[in-house]
């Protein structure tokens, strides 16, 4: 498969109250971003278990992005603060294991930031496309 044809699989976890609404607004405003992005709706960014992210990579995702309310704006007041810590540590660990750190991202997108949502997704897809297929997590134990 040549780089030009490579279509990454991107899983985007979006909190129901801000980022999912932001994604809807991007749609309402007809702001285009690649179809590679598929959104999973969760009540809050703090619902996203690191296991889900690893699971996505296991099943062949090339990039995973988590979107939540801006810190301070969480519908449940504190959820995104916990999510922020969990993801910081998880991403740092993946980087430590030599997994490309560009494959994971957290973005705070409010319900009013449809344009930001589209920009973020365009940028993330571009970054992951340039990285190519996610092989390292699968290869981590297979010493050739």
């Amino acid at each position: 498969m040549s780089m030009n044809e490579f279509k990454p699989k991107i899983v985007a976890f979006c909190c129901n109250w801000c980022s999912y609404a932001g994604a809807d607004l991007a749609g309402t405003n007809r702001l285009n971003y690649p179809a590679d992005v598929k959104i999973i709706r969760v009540p809050c960014s703090c619902r996203v278990n690191p296991l889900f992210i690893l699971r996505a990579f296991q099943r062949g995702a090339d990039g995973v992005i988590l979107c939540g309310c801006h810190p301070g704006d969480c519908h449940y007041t504190t959820g995104n603060y916990y999510a922020r810590r969990r993801m910081t540590l998880l991403f740092s660990m993946l980087d430590y294991l030599g997994i490309e750190k560009e494959r994971t991202r957290v973005e705070w997108v409010s319900a009013a930031e449809g344009a930001k949502f589209a920009t973020v997704m365009n940028d993330f897809v571009k970054t992951v496309t340039e990285l190519g297929e996610n092989k390292r997590l699968e290869d981590l134990r297979c010493k050739k």
Binding site: Y81, T88, L89, S92, M93, L140, R141
Partner: protein, 323 residues
């Protein structure tokens, strides 16, 4: 030291203050020590031991053998005491059912280091002062103790006992250590080098679960790797996922709760430096959220169930760890 411990254990048993004693017992070899429950003075006289090979962390064993209807005496080294404090914080052991005696640890010997030096046919090993004498089928050999002290003891984080009822010997202090140097070395590598390093290490894993079974932070009623409903349960060769992720998930699960006792690496039959995963989390937590030592105090709030509004953003990772 050992005799003082035996004396106190027997006194407490005799007075009825405790009905059981948890300590260390010698196995077939001098260096093969196992945790054990003692219930009589005779057993203690015969089997109880405390020497430079008693590396095993008694907190996990105590957790597994706890009885809430009777009081148990347990001897804890500083390392074990931290683990035990964390278990008490998490309500995994009942503090009231324990009588804890803190004992000092002056560094435990890693027999693997001796074996790695090419020594075989070991008959006995004795540690005296600063020297370690190895008596083998093929002759004797003497090491300076520091040469054969385990890595975790050379990088001892603390000689203090966060929780105890009484102490035998003097109370130590929190130590200045270089335990994060190895982590920093890895962090300084390129992602490709790190990947190759970890691939080399993790590919040796045989999934024996020894690390999990020895870990004092791994006390779940049912481990998610054993729970068919968790979505990550280990199924024989279903796919490579669990194999790949086991260590990441395990390290994440104990992040903020791991006291860095080093049991995971000690018990690993494949000598994978698993403590470097845990230390990465500890080092990140210290760096991002301020110094935190799990098990330093009963009732501490672990960093992953805590936050500040000013916490660093996850993109700090993409920026190479610098805010």
């Amino acid at each position: 030291m050992q005799e003082m411990m035996k004396k106190r254990a027997k006194e407490l048993l005799a007075s009825g203050e405790v009905t059981r004693v948890i300590g260390w017992k010698k196995n077939e070899f001098d260096y093969d020590i196992t945790p054990a429950v003692f219930t009589s003075a005779e057993e203690i006289d015969r089997d109880f031991i405390y020497d430079d090979f008693c590396g095993v962390n008694l907190s996990k064993f105590t957790f597994q053998h706890q009885k809430n209807d009777t009081k148990t005496l347990v001897f804890l080294k500083p390392c074990d005491s931290y683990s035990m404090t964390q278990l008490i914080t998490e309500h995994r052991v009942d503090r009231n059912a324990l009588y804890i005696i803190g004992v000092p640890s002056y560094g435990k010997i890693d027999v693997e280091k001796i074996k790695a030096d090419g020594v075989t046919g070991i008959l006995s090993i004795t540690s005296e002062g600063g020297d370690v004498h190895v008596h083998t089928l093929y002759g004797d050999k003497t090491y300076a103790k520091y040469e054969v002290t385990s890595e975790r003891c050379l990088n001892c984080k603390s000689k203090m006992h966060p929780t105890y009822d009484e102490l035998i010997g003097f109370e130590g202090e929190v130590m200045e250590t270089e335990r994060f140097d190895e982590v920093a070395k890895l962090e300084a590598m390129t992602p490709e080098e790190r990947f190759e390093f970890w691939r080399g290490e993790l590919s040796r894993c045989i999934r024996c679960n020894a690390c999990r079974n020895a870990c004092p932070a791994c006390t779940c009623e049912t481990c998610i790797f054993d729970n068919n409903d968790s979505g990550v349960a280990q199924k024989a060769a279903a796919d490579s996922f669990e194999e790949n992720m086991f260590h990441i998930i395990r390290a994440f699960h104990v992040a903020g709760r791991c006291t860095d006792c080093g049991e995971c690496s000690r018990v690993c039959p494949q000598h994978i430096p698993l403590h470097l995963l845990n230390r990465k989390f500890i080092s990140d937590i210290n760096k991002f959220y301020g110094d935190y030592q799990a098990g330093a105090e009963i009732g501490q709030r672990a960093p992953l169930v805590n936050f500040t509004k000013e916490d660093v953003e996850p993109d700090i990772v993409a920026k190479g760890g610098k805010a």
